[in-house]
Amino acid sequence: MSDDDPAPTAESIMSDNDLDIREPPRILVPVEVLEGESISESLVEFLAPARIILLGYHVLPEQTPTEQASMQFEDRARTAVEDIADTFRGVGRGVETRVAFTHDRDQTVERVAEEVGATAILLPNPSSDIEDVLVPIRGAVDVGRLADLVSTLLGGHAGTVTLWGLDTGGEYDTDAAVERARETLLDRGLPAEQITAEHAESESPVWDIVDRSGEFDIIVMGAGGPSLLSSLFGDPTERVAEGAVAPVIVVRTRED
């Protein structure tokens, strides 16, 4: 499908100049539009440096054919998505919109993320002004992507980044990962005084992250691979998003 390919627009060329030669990160923003979900203004502003793919979706129980829902609610859903898209356009950024009716939210979000090659997925939560970013590192994460994303979003702002290594006692060297992330952020031009690095031992990272979420305005974390626990209790990032008071941006692992 040709319309999935990101065509270079005036915007992306402009932002290329802003960011030397780097492509701006692409953030998928899924919004359950017909349930009245929306994106707060502060979040829109914070996300402005990224390319936004706004996915308006509506989840149906399996007894309802998606065709039936689209017949009746397609226009309403499209209008609602365009309304949200306008707030992004209001801060001077292009935004790509998509609308989907589905029985399975995760399947749809994952499919669209794949199709548009999204760097990260936003799990919205209410937010006030966004300044302080928490980056919990608790396992393999695409440091390059993470750093690109954080430095692009924070570029020119006064906000801070807290890299928080959560050591669960496994083989993964959290300290090294935090250090690597710090260096990459410095490389990307983020001033050293804006970056803090912390370490902690943690039995259950999800709960610890949720507990600290009140101190920060947004959480940026890696998706983490599938595990037995996540198939039982749901994806860790989703559990964080459910418990946290701040929005969560999930950095996707680069597909090969």
Partner: protein, 478 residues
């Protein structure tokens, strides 16, 4: 004529509504359908889900009602009758699969027939299959009531002679409809669990019984002459038991929601027929080995319960009664779901008022269509005349199956440009021809009452079309 002309459609119904085109046919691949405006419709039912719908719809009657009746008519050759039934079902399932991969839209048989043969046959099939499914659901619910009563009696609950079959059926009918109306948690998931549990019980029962019949435990049973009544009754009995294969086409009613329909639709339809065929044949084999066909006949509709009791005593009887209960639940639930899809499909095409396709945003369920399924079902259950109605349901299904075969032949004769199925039936004229003859032929074996009621319903459907939607044209419109 039409005030709101849409691409490719000629005209409107009495209320000025035109058929609505939702998904673009060219985009109906993989995991999404894309509408004209670019909205994506996610396909989320996989192969297992599709098979669960097919098996869940079919298994209700065949295993629990027919073994005694069929063995009485054909002797141990009743196993052959079920095998013949399966072959006929496959001869219809193959053409249905090809049509479904070419037109993977919700609506199933109705959709194919209206597009291949035109709006009038389409309307007749669409409306009569709605009623056919309503009758079938009522039949399953009464079956549920019977099993529930037998289960209570088996468990030693004394009801003091109060008749509970119909009240149980009514209560459960209300529950299932309510579950589908308000259940935001997926009702279709329930289907998978019920079918899974049911299959587990049956496979355990059949493996034990099969080993027993072969003489692994204790004495080997004396093999009975296979053709106790000669080969001819095997064929006439096949006509009787074909009813137990009605339902594989229900997979096609959810075609719009099936992932990778080109692959999964044919596999789910053919696969579910094969699974139930193996179960049916094994059941008859085990049952006739345990008791001999003459004695089996005297047990009538609860023959299988007696077989289980013979193997493992009261526990076996309880387990099989529970399986019967689950089978009727899954069949009734699958039928209610299919009914609401059938209503949606005809309403989308303006054959009946568009209001029938309305859905409720709060619960996200098609409340009008579900009410049009559940409401009449409850009335029928309360009336209690379900045996005849079950046969009427078979009649209406068979008409649809026959016409699907005709639709395939007609489609292939002058293939429209858009006709590009992922799966093509080999020797289609022969397969679809035999499928059509067998489907229509089976109707002749039915009771006159059922035939009269079935014909009356079809005439009424045709009359409705002439009155309400005579200008609507659907042939070749995707």
């Amino acid at each position: 004529m039409g005030t709101t002309p849409e691409p490719g459609t000629g005209a409107t119904n009495r209320a000025g509504e035109a058929p609505e085109q939702v998904g673009l046919s060219t985009e109906a691949e993989g995991e999404t359908t894309v509408t004209e405006e670019g909205t994506e419709l996610e396909r989320s039912i996989g192969l297992v889900g599709g098979i669960a719908i097919g098996v869940g719809t079919m298994i209700g009657a065949g295993i629990f009602v027919f073994p005694g009746l069929a063995a009485g008519r054909a002797g141990p050759a009743a196993a052959g009758s079920f095998a013949i039934g399966a072959v006929i079902a496959l001869l219809v399932a193959l053409p249905a699969s090809e049509l479904a991969t070419a037109m993977p839209k919700s609506g199933g048989g109705y959709y194919f027939i209206s597009r291949a043969l035109g709006a009038l046959p389409g309307a007749v099939v669409g409306i009569s299959i709605w009623l056919g499914l309503v009758f079938a659901t009522a039949f399953y619910l009464v079956g549920f009531g019977n099993y529930a009563a037998a289960l209570l009696a088996e468990a030693g609950v004394n009801l003091g002679g109060v008749p509970i079959v119909i009240p149980m059926a009514l209560v459960f009918g209300v529950l299932l409809t309510a579950l589908n109306l308000f259940g935001t948690e997926n009702a279709a998931k329930l289907q998978n669990y019920v079918v899974g549990l049911l299959l587990t019980i049956l496979v355990l029962f059949l493996s034990y019984g099969g080993l027993d019949a072969l003489g692994v435990f204790g004495t080997q049973s004396t093999p009975e002459t296979f053709f106790r009544f000669g080969p001819f009754p095997m064929f006439t009995t096949a006509a009787l038991v074909f009813t137990s294969y009605l339902g594989f086409a229900q997979v096609a009613t959810v075609a719009g929601d099936i992932k990778d329909p080109g692959r999964n639709l044919p596999l789910a339809m053919v696969g579910s027929v094969l699974i139930v065929a193996v179960l049916y044949v094994a059941t008859i084999f085990v049952a006739t080995s345990a008791f001999g066909s003459a004695r089996l006949e005297t047990f009538g509709e609860t023959a299988i319960v007696e077989v289980a009791r013979n193997f493992v005593g009261g526990t076996g009887a309880l387990a099989i009664l529970l399986a019967g209960l689950l089978a009727t639940v899954s069949s009734a639930n699958a039928s209610i779901l299919s009914t609401s899809r059938a209503v949606f499909a005809v309403s989308k095409d303006a054959i009946i008022p568009k209001a029938a396709a309305r859905m409720n945003l709060k619960y996200g369920t098609p409340h009008v269509a579900l009410a049009m399924a559940g409401g009449p079902v409850l009335v029928l259950v309360a009336l209690g005349e379900v045996e005849v109605l079950a046969e009427v349901a078979s009649f209406l299904h068979l008409v649809m199956y026959g016409l699907m075969c005709v639709a395939l032949i007609s489609m292939r004769r002058d293939e429209p440009e858009w006709y590009d199925p992922d799966f093509r039936v080999p020797a289609h004229r022969l397969v679809a021809g035999i499928g059509a003859i067998a489907s229509f032929g089976l109707i002749l074996f039915m009771q006159t009452t059922s035939q009269v009621i079935g014909l009356a319903i079809m005439l009424a459907a045709a009359g409705w079309y002439k009155y309400y939607a005579a200008d609507v044209e659907l042939k070749g419109v995707l």
